[in-house]
């Protein structure tokens, strides 16, 4: 059965969205690998100052590349998709700040004995962001 022009064009737009999403995923993956390299690498090369600095510079550069790619991803979206992203990002940021401060406070007032880890906060923000996207997409479907 022949597809209508609109269906074909919509499929092209859908493909563009997929390409844009794929770029963000590749950059996130590259940044995660660079972060792992910058974290665990120094042990391998004996904490050499120059190579460690280069590793962190690379991790930082890839991080900015990831931010830039995500910005492009947002700009390519339509206004409703951007609103869903805004609501999810606001939720993740708000939860991150509020819970992060309380988490830090728990250690300050000796209610927990371990040092709060930034990685816990990042995981919480990532999960909150995904939950926010789920809620937004469900609300506006």
């Amino acid at each position: 059965m022949n597809k209508t022009n609109a269906e074909t064009k919509t499929n092209k737009a859908y493909s563009r969205d997929r390409v844009s999403e794929a770029k963000v995923i590749y950059w996130c993956l590259a940044w995660t690998l660079a972060t792992a390299g910058a974290t665990f690498g120094p042990e391998l090369w004996g904490y050499g100052t120059l190579i460690t600095s280069i590793g962190i510079a690379i991790q930082l550069a890839i991080g900015f590349g990831m931010i830039w790619t995500f910005k492009g991803f947002l700009l390519a979206m339509d206004e409703l998709q951007r609103l869903i992203q805004l609501e999810a990002i606001s939720l993740a940021f708000g939860v991150g700040v509020v819970v992060g401060l309380s988490y830090e406070l728990l250690e300050d007032v000796k209610l927990i004995t371990f040092e709060p880890e930034i990685s816990h906060l990042i995981m919480l923000m990532a999960l909150t962001y995904m939950f926010g996207l789920f809620l937004g997409n469900r609300h506006y479907r």
């Binding site: 609109a6 737009a13 339509d78 206004e79 998709q81 997409n137 479907r141």
Partner: protein
């Protein structure tokens, strides 16, 4: 805000996907506008008005005034 997008689309026998393509937005956006869950921006409302060759207020109505 109420709108007549669904009626105008049906008059032309267009699918949501077709209207989405014409307005360069996602089908999800068209559905959210039609069901009143999302109010379009002014540029998108103007685009819809141009597409249907109508005035914005003939497509979108403020519920306070209707």
């Amino acid at each position: 805000m109420k709108n007549r997008l669904k009626v105008l689309r049906a008059e032309r026998d267009w699918t949501q996907a077709k209207l989405a393509e014409e307005l360069d937005v996602s089908r999800q956006t068209i559905n959210a506008i039609e069901t009143g869950k999302f109010d379009p921006s002014l540029p998108l409302a103007f685009k819809a008005a141009r597409l249907f060759d109508m005035l914005i207020e003939d497509i979108f109505q403020d519920e306070v005034n209707s």
